[in-house]
Symmetry: C2
Subunit: 222 residues, 2 copies
């Protein structure tokens, strides 16, 4: 198996860890006191304009697997990220659907590999974030900003927020047990109408805590 | 710059993060209440027999940079790690001096990349740990065990232990502040006569906490 197939397989395998387990669907209507954990491998959200330049005018992303949040999917498309000193990471998954902005989400480990220092930000907060170059099969886009390390966050509905005794924009703490036990602070609560209850962690956070999905956690209240 | 040069550069850069800053030397004789943090990138310790097979009979490791712990050094030698399904990580630094056992220390992120599941262990505790294949310029060694994710630990002397109100084998907690704030639990205290006071974290833990050496931390006592 060649290098490219190997990386592609890894990306798909990691994305697999992001897929919801059967339980969350039930959680959505009958919220419980535990929160499913989802691990997000490096990925990119694209605008219509950027997708046009990378994959061709009017290109339509092909859904590969549904993700936890309603409507979101991992597409069959990938890009190569190129950072400072032309250091690259290949086969970075494009998520759909197309958004109004382009955003690259990588881990701190990825950032070291690319030689860049993206800030820890919430989704969409891209002003002054790291530049990056995206390479697609048709063209290349040089972004002056848009690369972040996603802030730890929990998607939930208003009903979930009531049950978990939190509100939108709260920063909460989550404890993981076991040999790699740790307490994550500054976990952002993101309340939205159609959210699927899910804690999103990047691969550094997940691996530091030795997270093995499917698993659930609780918010620390003391 | 080719792929190999790029990876070599990265490894050297990461190892750079493991070098002691000027401060710790002073810390060694006049222990203080803060503990320097050192980030350990993936690396390997080799036995005489394994080094013979990888690099040739009687091969002598060439010191490249001194590491924090007295006598330890990053050598000019590297190996390629090959895990399940023949997935590989190239240019993994060999540390010296030669030990009585061979031990491969990687992060959880590295483990995912290699398709293996090494346990979280303290150094030298290798029974039943993950198998791996090592490839050197002269030969290849297939280890039936020896790959671990190093348990978070703090090297210190008896004098440091008194100052920090801990004892050998204690498990303590360390808090990191900032946007990626977290509390690491199960941090093992390792007391030895010639230790340099230093918290050792793998790259997943360091990146999850957004550690930027040089920096110091304190043990949580409440």
């Amino acid at each position: 198996m060649g290098e490219i197939e190997r990386i592609a397989e890894e990306v798909i395998r990691r994305l697999g860890a992001s897929r919801p387990t059967p339980a969350p669907t039930a959680t959505r209507t009958t919220a419980t006191a535990t929160i499913p954990v989802s691990v997000s491998a490096r990925h990119i959200h694209v605008s219509r304009g950027v997708l046009d330049r990378l994959y061709g005018e009017g290109f339509k992303l092909t859904p590969l697997t549904d993700l936890g949040q309603p409507g979101e999917f991992a597409s069959g498309q990938t890009v190569t990220l190129v950072g400072q000193s032309m250091r690259a990471i290949e086969h970075v998954r494009v998520l759909g659907p197309v958004r109004t902005y382009t955003q690259v989400e990588i881990s701190g480990t990825d950032a070291v590999r690319l030689g860049i220092e993206p800030p820890i930000r919430r989704s969409g907060d891209l002003a002054g974030s790291e530049p990056i170059t995206l390479v697609g099969p048709v063209g290349t886009v040089r972004l002056s900003e848009g690369t972040i390390r996603a802030m730890r966050h929990i998607h939930m509905t208003e009903r979930d927020a009531q049950i978990h005794r939190v509100k939108n924009e709260d920063l909460v703490r989550i404890r993981f047990s076991g040999p790699a036990a740790l307490v994550l602070e500054n976990v952002l609560i993101r309340v939205s109408k159609s959210a699927l209850l899910e804690l999103h962690l990047d691969t550094d956070n997940a691996n530091a805590a030795d997270v093995r999905p499917p698993m659930t956690v609780e918010i620390l209240h003391s």
